[in-house]
Symmetry: C2
Subunit: 292 residues, 2 copies
């Protein structure tokens, strides 16, 4: 069994991006600039946004963090998005989800100019993904694809079962892994809460992607010997032995599954860092597309 | 075994649309107007466009057929699309595919204003489909969903195997059948030319959608007893016994598969008429969204 080390892979990607930025600096060219909007002070969201800003620092991207109290109106947020869309110094920006219940997340996502939508959540970018046209791929699925690519994992003709059909992970990844590319050309089955015999379906897979947000749901008896297992879950579970009082748990029961599979991505240190790396790749591309 | 009679179902839909149009007429409201661009004189394309114009006539929609010689430049076509985008009398329009090799189909598809893209091929409409947002669903998958709906076929929790991952049928249908809707909530497996053990994969399916364009590829030994079979294939095969010299063949070996399955859509008279019905539904909606 080999660990799919997302942390190390993301570090390698960030080093490559740093070199690209350094070259641009030396040539007097614009440096990529990512803005992030954070509404409220949810612990998880603060951690994620913090990690994104930190990644910008490491690479040498400029970053701007815009924070709002959780009571702000939807209109204030939409006005800010409009301003960022029209701010030529900003190459790409994200609005950290989830948003407070009184703000319509879809409306917010759709208000972002697709050319600055480095999270890849805008319908235009998802449509481009379906058609395999240039655009911004959603960061988490793109990070998973990149992880498979860098570990040179054979995907062609493999049976891949994805658990969870979310708009930001399961559904787009099902399309990306099924299309005629490398990585890709998998025979993909997308499963969800209404799937019958889930265990049986998963146990036939050569590649398993667990992305439904149920800690340690995937157990060894669901995994075929030698399968590749990608764990997208990140749930905070109470843990009195930890100083912060909780531990991050994936959707895979790591210890027992690890013994059976050929490759496995851990939580933390697997898909999470790759998502941030994808966001950085998208930000550089956004700037390149705009400024050449 | 019951036939999924697309012809009769499409007729029922067209009657409903005709009533809606008649009501609009009585109230002095605008009548939907569909334009179709046909480049060249490919026999199949001429037949399809002709059927669409005929459907408009039957329902009482206005229609305009714009024909070009196959030697026209891409720019002439793009200029015409631009004109139609800005022509307020036209509610929706289609460019019949395939186009001659010197014209970039993707560029053409993307030039159509998404609000008039009643074929549902524009990235914005495909992205809206992925997110289950309002937009125009691609006509063939939407027609299949409507056929399943009108025959009240249970889809929730069913294993559905789609053969063929095209941008206009297999890939969008895989998303539409997998999402949390009725019809929908299937566990969908999207198969293609790189799928291994295709026969084995298909033979487990409760619902089979054959959409790869290989005449009579799906044989009885690939079909589970009682499965629902949807045939999207439409290949012209030489047939000296026919006056026109060819017969339209589906992707399913109808006679032997029909004996085994619970429902089957024939070719012709199955998915084809439903595609046209979907196009008409989209055209009415395009007008309603524009004019209320």
């Amino acid at each position: 069994m080999q660990i799919l080390d997302g942390k190390a892979t993301a570090k390698a990607i960030k080093n490559e991006l740093k070199e690209a930025v350094d070259t641009r600096k030396r040539n007097g060219k614009k440096i990529p600039h990512l803005a992030a909007i954070l509404v409220g002070s949810d612990g998880g969201s603060m951690t994620y946004v913090g990690a994104k800003v930190k990644a910008c620092d490491e690479i040498g991207f400029e970053s701007t963090l815009i924070r709002y109290d959780e009571t702000i109106s939807e209109q204030v947020l939409l006005d800010k998005i409009d301003a960022l869309n029209n701010d030529n110094s900003i190459d790409g920006f994200i609005v950290q989800l989830p948003l407070p219940a009184h703000i319509d997340e879809l409306k917010v996502t759709q208000a972002i100019d697709p050319r600055k939508d480095v999270d890849g959540f805008h319908p235009m970018n998802l449509g481009n993904m379906v058609l395999d046209l240039p655009g911004f791929l959603p960061a988490t699925p793109a990070g998973i694809i990149e992880l498979l690519r860098r570990y040179e994992i054979e995907t062609e003709g493999k049976e891949c079962v994805i658990i969870g059909r979310s708009n930001i992970v399961g559904t787009p990844l099902s399309i990306m892994l099924g299309r005629n590319k490398n990585p890709g050309n998998c025979t993909v089955t997308l499963t969800h809460s209404r799937t019958k015999n889930l265990k049986e379906v998963v146990s036939k897979a050569d590649i398993i992607v667990a992305a439904m947000g149920r800690p340690e749901f995937v157990t060894a008896d669901m995994v075929k010997e030698g399968a590749v297992v990608i764990d997208v879950g990140t749930t905070r579970v109470e843990d009195a032995t930890k100083k912060k009082g909780w531990a991050l748990k994936g959707d895979v029961k790591f210890d027992e599954v690890a013994e059976k599979c050929s490759y496995i991505s851990p939580v933390p240190g697997g898909v999470g860092p790759m998502t941030i790396a994808s966001l950085m790749i998208n930000t550089l591309r956004a700037m390149e597309l705009k400024n050449n």
